[in-house]
C-alpha cells in the first residue's frame, strides 16, 4: 500500500470515531460527504463558529432536497459520495513538469488564442517556481485598490478580516434552501472571491479572478460574493478564454451580487471549461447559481460567453427589489460536439418602474443541445415594470437541437413584457457571398456567427470582447462540414 493510500485509509477509519478530531493534518479528504466532512472543511479554513453552523444547516437541508430534473440536459446520476470535497493546493509533484507534458490539443488552442507562454504554463498548471511578471502587476493593483478602499480577496480571507460583512451578506441573495446545487455549495464551498466597494466609490479598475492571488485551486465549489455599497460601481470579469486544465468533473459554484441603492455591478463571464471529446466522454458539469439583488436605482448586468463544459446549467438572475432598478442579461452560448447547455436568466420585478433586458444568442452545432430557459416574473407591486427579451438561435448542421423555454408571469396590469424568439441557420447564400470574396468556409462561418452575437459582445469589456470573438472561431473549428 502506498503511503498516500495508507493515509486515506487511516482517515476513513478515523471518520467513524466518536467526536470530531480537529487537528487532522491530511491535505486531502477521501470521497464521501457527511457532517464531519463539512466540519472538516470549515475547520481547515479556520472559520468562525457561526460559519460552521451555517454550513451544517445548509448540509442538513441539502439532504432533504431532490436532484433537479427539469432541465433539458441528460447525464448519468451523480454519486455525491464518490466525490472528494476537500483537497489542499495540488502538490507540485502531480503537475506537469513542463509544457511538453501537457495535452498538445490544449497547447494548440492556446496558440490560436495568442496566449503568452508564461500564461500558458499557468493555465496548464505547469509547476513553475518563479512566479512571472504578473506579481508586480498584482502588487500595483493591490495598492491602487487599497487606496480606493476596495476590498478584493478570497472568501476565506474575508471571513477572517471582514467577518461582519460576510455574515451580513453571505446567503442573503442565494439562500442555501434555494436549490439543490446551491445547498451543496453552501455546505462544502472551498473558496472564492469577495469584493466590497465602499459608498460612492467607482472601482478604479476591472476586477478579475484571473489576477487574484490565490486564484488557483478554488476548486469545484466556488463561492463569490460582491457587495457594491450605495452609489458605487464595479466591473468584474470571471474566467478566461483559455480552456483551463481541471480535474474536477462537477462544478457547483454560487455567485451572489448585492447592489445597494444607486450602485452598479457589471459581471462578465467567459466560460471555456473542458467540454469533453466528440463522443461526449469527460468534460465538466457546470451547475452554477448566480443571482443579484438590485436595490433602489441600482443596476446589475450579467454578460456571459459560454463555450465550454459538457453540461451547463446556469441562470444568472436579478431580483429587482428597489424602485427603478435595472437588470440586464446578455448571453452567448455555443455548443458543439455532444455538449448540452440549459442556460438563461430570471428577472424578478418587485420594485416600481423596474426594467430588464434579456438578449440571448444560442448557437448549436454538430450533435449538441442548446436551450434557453428564462423567467420574467412581474409581481403585483411592480407598477410600471418593463421587460424586453430577444432570444435567437442559430443552428449549424441538422443533428443538433436549439430550444427556447421562456416563462412569463405577469401580475401587474401596468407592466409590459415583450418576448421574441427566432431560429435560423447560417444560410448558403451568406456563406457563398463570403467565399466569393475569398474567405474560406470556416472563416466565413465564424464571421457570420460573430455577427450574430454582436449585440452581446458589445456589452463585454473591450479586450474580453476581442478574445471572445477568437474563442468562438476556435470553438467552431471542425463544426462546419
Amino acid at each position: 500500500m502506498s503511503e498516500n493510500a495508507e493515509r486515506i485509509d487511516e482517515l476513513v477509519q478515523r471518520r467513524y470515531e466518536a467526536g470530531w478530531v480537529t487537528d487532522i493534518e491530511s491535505e486531502t479528504l477521501p470521497p464521501g460527504l457527511d457532517e464531519d466532512t463539512v466540519r472538516f472543511i470549515s475547520a481547515k479554513k479556520g472559520e468562525p463558529e457561526w460559519m460552521t453552523e451555517w454550513r451544517l444547516e445548509a448540509f442538513r437541508h441539502w439532504q432533504t432536497m431532490d436532484h433537479p430534473e427539469w432541465a433539458h440536459v441528460h447525464y448519468p446520476p451523480i454519486d455525491f459520495q464518490a466525490i472528494s470535497y476537500y483537497s489542499a493546493p495540488k502538490s507540485k509533484d502531480d503537475a506537469p513538469k513542463s509544457l511538453d507534458e501537457v495535452d498538445p490539443e490544449l497547447l494548440r488552442t492556446y496558440e490560436k488564442l495568442g496566449i503568452p507562454l508564461e500564461e500558458q504554463m499557468m493555465l496548464a498548471g505547469v509547476a513553475v517556481d518563479a512566479v512571472f511578471d504578473s506579481v508586480s502587476v498584482v502588487t500595483t493593483f493591490k495598492e491602487k485598490l487599497a487606496e480606493a478602499g476596495v476590498i478584493f480577496c478570497s472568501i476565506s480571507e474575508a471571513l477572517r478580516n471582514h467577518p461582519e460583512l460576510v455574515r451580513k451578506y453571505l446567503g442573503s441573495v442565494v439562500p442555501y434552501r434555494d436549490n439543490f446545487f446551491a445547498g451543496l455549495n453552501s455546505a462544502v464551498f472551498s473558496d472564492g472571491s469577495f469584493v466590497y466597494i465602499p459608498k460612492g466609490v467607482r472601482c478604479p479598475m476591472e476586477l478579475s479572478t484571473y489576477f487574484r492571488i490565490n486564484a488557483e485551486n478554488t476548486g469545484q465549489f466556488e463561492r463569490t460574493l460582491i457587495v457594491a455599497d450605495e452609489g458605487s460601481y464595479v466591473s468584474y470579469l470571471e474566467g478566461c478564454t483559455a480552456p483551463q486544465r481541471d480535474e474536477n468533473q462537477l462544478h457547483a459554484a454560487v455567485v451572489e451580487l448585492v447592489a445597494l441603492k444607486d450602485a452598479e455591478i457589471k459581471y462578465s463571464t467567459v466560460q471555456n471549461w473542458y467540454p469533453g471529446d466528440e463522443e461526449g466522454r469527460g468534460g465538466i458539469y457546470n451547475f452554477v447559481t448566480k443571482r443579484g439583488v438590485a436595490h433602489e436605482n441600482a443596476k446589475i448586468s450579467w454578460t456571459q460567453v459560454e463555450t465550454g463544459s459538457a453540461i451547463t446549467w446556469k441562470y444568472p438572475s436579478v431580483v429587482l427589489r428597489g424602485d427603478n432598478s435595472v437588470g440586464e442579461f446578455y448571453s452567448v452560448a455555443l455548443t458543439r460536439g455532444r455538449q448540452q447547455a440549459d442556460t438563461g436568466t430570471k428577472m424578478i420585478h418587485i420594485g416600481k418602474n423596474t426594467r430588464s433586458t434579456i438578449v440571448s444568442k444560442g448557437i448549436s452545432a454538430v450533435n449538441s443541445e442548446n436551450a434557453y430557459r428564462g423567467l420574467v416574473r412581474i409581481t403585483p407591486t411592480a407598477e410600471g415594470a418593463r421587460n424586453f427579451t430577444q432570444c435567437d438561435s442559430l443552428l449549424i448542421g441538422d443533428r443538433c437541437g436549439a430550444h427556447t423555454f421562456p416563462y412569463i408571469e405577469s401580475r401587474n396590469p401596468s407592466a409590459i413584457v415583450e418576448h421574441e424568439a427566432t431560429t435560423s441557420k447560417v444560410s448558403d447564400d451568406q456563406l457563398f457571398l463570403c467565399r466569393q470574396r475569398g474567405l474560406d468556409p470556416e472563416k466565413a462561418v465564424s464571421m457570420i456567427v460573430n455577427g450574430f452575437c454582436k449585440e452581446v459582445f458589445r456589452e463585454l469589456p473591450m479586450e474580453f470582447a476581442v478574445e471572445a470573438g477568437k474563442l468562438l472561431e476556435v470553438s467552431l473549428e471542425g463544426a462546419v462540414g
Binding site: 427539469w70 412581474i378 403585483p380 438561435s393 443552428l395 449549424i396 448542421g397 441538422d398 443533428r399 443538433c400 437541437g401 436549439a402 430550444h403 427556447t404 423555454f405 421562456p406 416563462y407 412569463i408 408571469e409 405577469s410 401580475r411 401587474n412 396590469p413 401596468s414 407592466a415 409590459i416 413584457v417 415583450e418 418576448h419 421574441e420 424568439a421 427566432t422 431560429t423 435560423s424 441557420k425
Partner: protein, 429 residues
C-alpha cells in the same frame, strides 16, 4: 385531506370504476382496456409536474368526477346561432342524443355500436400514455360519436357538435369521446360547442384525423363561465397536403383546461390556429398547445389573444416541436395578452424545441396594457374612459373572432364576448 391521500383515494376509486366497465367486446371495450392500463401506469399531476405548473386540479378531484351522470338528465339550454344552417349532433354528458341524418358520404355512428373496421383511429390519435385524464376518459368511455367523411366528399352544411352538460346540481363526471375522420380530399366545417357551467365535471377527448389533401375548419366555443369544470384533450393528425384550421373562443370558468396537440404528419400539411380568450372574476383558463412538426415542408401559424381581469388566471403554454428531418418547416406562434387587474395573472410560456436546421421558426409573446396613446386618442374624440377601454380591449380579441370561417358564428361570438367583457365584475367576498 392531504394531497397525497387525495390522489391515492382518487386513483383507487377510478380503478375500481374502470374495472366495473371491464365487460364487453368491440372497439370501445378495447379502448377502455387500454385506458385502464394507461391510467394504472400514469401518475396524476402533482406540484412538480411541469405541464401542470399553473393549474391545480387537486381538490376538484373530489367533486364527482368519478360519479356517473344521470342518463336521463335534461341538457342545459342549447341556443341556435341566428343565420347558421347546420346539422346538430347533441351529446349530453358524453352520450349521443339524436344524431342527425347527414348527407351522402358522411357517416355518424355511436361509438358503442362501432364495428371493428371503422375504429382504426380510435385511441390511436390521442395516446393515453402519460396523460392520466386522457387515460381516464378512455377507461370510462361508455359511448361517444364517430364522424366520418368519405373520400372527396365536400360537406356543404356545417356540422354542429354540442357537448352539453346535463342540468342538475349533484356533482358528476362525464367523459365524452369523439372521433372525427376526414378521408382524402374531404372538406368539412365543424362547430364544436362546450355548453354548461354546472355540476358536471367534463373530461372530453376529441380525436381528429385529416387525411391527405382533406380540409377541416374547426370552430370551437366554450363561452359558459361560472362553475363549470372542463378538461379537454384535442389530438389532431394532419396528413400530406391536409389543412386544419382551429378557431377558438373560450372564456374562463371555475376550471377550464384545454390540451391541444396537432401533429403535422405529411409533407405540405398546414395548420392555422386562432384563439381568443377572456377570463374574469375568479375563473381559470389553461391552454396547453403543442404543435408537432414531424415531417418536412409543413407550415403552422398560431395566434392567441387573451384578456384577464379581476382575480382570474390565464395560462398558455405554446410549444412548437420540430422533429429531426422536419426540414423546410415554417412555424410561427404569437401570443398577446392584456392584463386588466392587479389580482389577475397571466402566465405565458411559448416554447421552441428544434431539431432541424433548415427551418423558419419564431415565437413572440407580449403581456401588457392598453396603449395609452390610443386610449387618449379615443378620449380626445369624446369617448368616455370605460367605453374607450372596452373598445380597445375588444378590438384586440375581435381580430381573431372576425377571422372565423363561419361568419354567422363569428358575429354571434363577438356579441357574446362583448357582453361578457362589458358586464360588471361579480361581487367577490
Amino acid at each position: 385531506m392531504a394531497q397525497t391521500d387525495r390522489i391515492e383515494d382518487f386513483t383507487r376509486n377510478a380503478q375500481a370504476r374502470a374495472e366495473a366497465l371491464a365487460e364487453g367486446s368491440g372497439p370501445l371495450a378495447a379502448l377502455r382496456a387500454a385506458g385502464r392500463d394507461a391510467f394504472a401506469a400514469a401518475e396524476l399531476p402533482g406540484r412538480k409536474t411541469e405541464s401542470w405548473k399553473y393549474s391545480r386540479v387537486g381538490a376538484l378531484l373530489e367533486e364527482g368526477l368519478l360519479d356517473r351522470p344521470d342518463p336521463g338528465a335534461d341538457p342545459v339550454a342549447v341556443a341556435d346561432f341566428p343565420g347558421l344552417d347546420a346539422d346538430r349532433m347533441l351529446l349530453v354528458d358524453g352520450v349521443p342524443r339524436g344524431l342527425p341524418k347527414p348527407g351522402e358520404g358522411v357517416v355518424l355512428r355511436r361509438l358503442a355500436e362501432l364495428a371493428e373496421l371503422e375504429a382504426a383511429d380510435l385511441g390511436a390519435l390521442a395516446p393515453a400514455q402519460e396523460r392520466p385524464f386522457v387515460a381516464l376518459n378512455a377507461a370510462l368511455a361508455e359511448d361517444g360519436v364517430l364522424l366520418h367523411v368519405g373520400r372527396g366528399v365536400r360537406v356543404e352544411r356545417p356540422l354542429e357538435l354540442v357537448l352539453a352538460q346535463g342540468a342538475g346540481t349533484a356533482p358528476r363526471g362525464a367523459h365524452p369521446r369523439i372521433l372525427v375522420v376526414l378521408e382524402p380530399g374531404a372538406e368539412l366545417a365543424l362547430l364544436e360547442r362546450q355548453l354548461g357551467a354546472g355540476a358536471v365535471f367534463t373530461n372530453a377527448v376529441i380525436e381528429v384525423h385529416v387525411k391527405e389533401g382533406a380540409r377541416l375548419d374547426h370552430v370551437r366555443l366554450g363561452l359558459d363561465a361560472g362553475d363549470g369544470r372542463w378538461l379537454t384533450a384535442l389530438d389532431v393528425r394532419v396528413d400530406r397536403d391536409g389543412r386544419y384550421g382551429l378557431h377558438q373562443a373560450l372564456v374562463g370558468s371555475r376550471f377550464r383546461r384545454n390540451e391541444i396537440r396537432i401533429r403535422m404528419a405529411g409533407a405540405g400539411a398546414e395548420a392555422t390556429v386562432g384563439a381568443a380568450t377572456l377570463t374574469r372574476d375568479r375563473t381559470h383558463l389553461d391552454t396547453q398547445m403543442s404543435l408537432e412538426h414531424e415531417v418536412p415542408h409543413c407550415t403552422s401559424d398560431q395566434r392567441f389573444r387573451s384578456i384577464a381581469g379581476e382575480r382570474s388566471r390565464t395560462v398558455l403554454n405554446g410549444r412548437i416541436h420540430i422533429h429531426p428531418q422536419a426540414q423546410k418547416t415554417a412555424a410561427e406562434f404569437n401570443t398577446r395578452n392584456l392584463l386588466l387587474s392587479t389580482d389577475a395573472e397571466i402566465d405565458a410560456k411559448p416554447e421552441l424545441e428544434i431539431y432541424a436546421d433548415d427551418v423558419k421558426c419564431a415565437h413572440g409573446a407580449t403581456v401588457g396594457r392598453l396603449d395609452p396613446t390610443s386610449l387618449f386618442y379615443l378620449r380626445s374624440r369624446g369617448l368616455g374612459e370605460t367605453e374607450a377601454r372596452t373598445m380597445l380591449s375588444f378590438a384586440f380579441l375581435g381580430s381573431i373572432v372576425d377571422a372565423f370561417p363561419l361568419e354567422a358564428v363569428g358575429s354571434a361570438v363577438r356579441a357574446e364576448l362583448e357582453t361578457a367583457f362589458a358586464r360588471p365584475a361579480e361581487e367577490t367576498p
